[in-house]
């Protein structure tokens, strides 16, 4: 595939991610922060997000598995996850976290479990999408082109 086509694909894909709500404006902000002095910023942040999130999800699973759930701890974790996802612009994950937190306040473990599932689902979805996106970007760069950030918005 030649560079132009790859770039167009990238743009379309990115746009679709926004349209479908996987990503929001914050992700664009991250992309804006990427420049010559910081060429891998997005990749770095995204990787960190993956690491953090996986750790947090594991912690959450473990915490909710307990007999007596420590809702404070759960809440703290969810809060962290919410923070990370909102920092990166993973909109759906963030929204799921917000819902999760409200159930934590209610101390409803059933609902919390359900929310956890939801969050996980959303997380894996977005992880998939982001990985695809990054791969696309790497292909473009390998082919000698540049990622057309300016075609995006917000």
């Amino acid at each position: 595939m030649e560079v132009g086509q790859m770039q167009r694909t990238w743009v379309e894909y990115t746009k679709s991610l926004f349209m479908e709500g996987f990503l929001d404006g914050q992700f664009t902000q991250l992309q804006l922060l990427q420049d010559e002095s910081n060429p891998d910023f997005v990749v770095e942040v995204v990787s960190l997000f993956f690491e953090d999130s996986e750790r947090l999800l594991n912690d959450l699973t473990r915490a909710l598995d307990q007999q007596s759930v420590d809702f404070k701890r759960v809440d703290a974790h969810v809060h962290q996850l919410k923070g990370s996802s909102s920092s990166i612009g993973a909109q759906r994950v963030k929204n799921a976290c917000i819902a999760f937190r409200s159930f934590c306040e209610q101390q409803n473990s059933e609902a919390c479990l359900k929310c956890l599932q939801q969050v996980k689902q959303e997380y894996y979805l977005v992880k998939n999408k982001l990985e695809t996106l990054i791969r696309l970007e790497q292909q473009i760069v390998a082919a000698g082109g540049s990622v057309p950030m300016e075609e995006l918005s917000f």
Binding site: Q29, L33, G83, S84, S87, S153
Partner: protein, 739 residues
Amino acid sequence: MESCNCIEPQWPAEELLMKYQYISDFFIALAYFSIPLELIYFVKKSAVFPYRWVLVQFGAFIVLCGATHLINLWTFTMHSRTVAIVMTIAKVLTAVVSCATALMLVHIIPDLLSVKTRELILKNKAAELDREMGLIRTQEETGRHVRMLTHEIRSTLDRHTILKTTLVELGRTLALEECALWMPTRSGLELQLSYTLRQQNPVGYTVPIQLPVINKVFSCNRAVKISPNCPVARIRPFAGKYMPGEVVAVRVPLLHLSNFQINDWPELSTKRYALMVLMLPSDSARQWHAYELELVEVVADQVAVALSHAAILEESMRARDLLMEQNVALDLARREAETAIRARNDFLAVMNHEMRTPMHAIIALSSLLQETELTPEQRLMVETILKSSNLLATLINDVLDLSRLEDGSLQLDLGTFNLHAVFWEVLNLIKPIASVKKLPVTLSLAPDLPEYAIGDQKRLMQTILNVVGNAVKFSKEGNISITAFVAKPESLRDPRFPDFFPVPSDSHFYLCVKVKDEGLGINPQDISKLFTKFAQSQSSATGNSSGSGLGLAICKRFVNLMEGHIWIESEGLGKGCTAIFVVKLGILERSNESKHPFMPKVPAIHGQTAFSGLKVLVMDDNGVSRMVTKGLLVHLGCDVTTVSSSDECLRVVSQDHKVVFMDVCIPDGFEVAVRIHEKFTKRHERPLIVALTENTSKVTKENCMRVGMDGVILKPVSVDEMRGVLSYLLEHRVLFEAM
């Protein structure tokens, strides 16, 4: 007897003849002696006599002749030889002198004769000079008369007076019997008797204009003698016994203003003449002299000029009266218009007040609602309500502004402001609406765009917001891009607007803003109507034609006030459109730092690296958040240190850090702020403390304020927001409006 040497006369002395001869000789001698005496006497009397020598000679001749005759007396009787000898000597002498005299007279007599001729010539010359002198004197008199007449004629500008005076003066100067003026009627076919000298009210005699005598007079520019019997001269009943006086007629050109518009004197192409008829007294046997005719001609010319002056004056008086009337009418209209404007302004003011009160309620309550706990959807709704009501409030202001703009009573509020911040704010305001419609909005500011500018910030923002708002309003899909850059003079010279001459100088620059959308577009024919008040494009595709149609009209006026220009380009319906405007803004002088106490302490502000080297500290326990915030600040050029706990923060924080960003959700977050205050007692040493939080409740804000934080920022924060916040913060050292 024989020794008597006497000479015997030939004839006896007693003879009668001898006696007569004796007497004659005696008288001759007497006469001859008396002549020189007379001559001497009269010559002595006269002063000039050029020929003295001749006189002497002649005297001698005469005396000798007399002597001869005298001596001859003795010869009638017996006389001695001595007498004879004396006689002979006398005669000889006489003969000599007389011959000499005769010879000289040959020379002298022609001379004497020529003197006489010369005298005659001189006399003739003197007579001639006398004659000429008389002529000159007469001419000079004529000239004096003409001048006096002219003076009389030109001393008034009233047409009737002019004509009357002319006739009167002419009559006086030339001792005329009658003087009359015939004017052409309106139709131009007849001459009507208009003025006469002697008759008080001339009856309306008319003569047809085509009479041969009249033609003769009109075709010649001199005074013409005419017959006393022709119709124009038969004005009054003939009263004299003998001959009526000679009559002269002259044409008086009636000049019009149009005749004076050519540079050289007009050739009297006007063809409208009046006829002046002058009659010498009858029975006077006077004749028209050449100088009198000349006088008449000159007067006729003067009258023509005076009449045209009078006509011009009448014209200008009429025009002046008309103007005065118009002035009065205009004044009245102006007063009425002013009253109307005042009435409208009053109405608008009242209406605005009535409209603003509920608006304030909506805005206030929405703000309050925003402070409470809301779900994200609810928050979005409330924000939209707030933004919309703000826009509506702005619209109400617009209406008032527009009416003030039209009066010309609006003036720009010039001030120094952050130009970049204006654009970010517009972006923030338009984001919610655009996101609802799912329209991506990009903003790109040129690197050479000054950070600060001098101008009317509020109205500039209003303009940008309006233009961008329109782009959003009239787009159903597609990108909206806002670009701002410093306009170069060449690119600004739009041939469509030849009046717009932007001249950048050292103190001003031209900001050019382009807003491009891919929305509904505009029919090129409608573009000109866009900027007119209340005109809306009636295309049904627009659907909800919200807005009063005032926006662009107001923008145009603001732009004009800022000495700029605004225009819209569109390829057609469905092809989107681009709105471009250029405004003049003042450049902030770097050297005048003392005049602007709000200048941030960071020197050399250029474009994006506004905060190069600004040392900041970021405290956040969430790794991703921390990384993102750091990346953001690094992108802005700051020198960022990150810490993940409050202890670490307190350890690391120093005087060099200008700002500390802390996530207040971590435990002890507020504590840190208090500690920092304790650590740095002096205000200028202490770094500014800004809280980062996802929670925008009033409680959080109050808590932040209580512990002495300088500001609160809502996470997640965008690059633009961070930039704006940082600059505002550094400028004002407090940030509590940034939520």
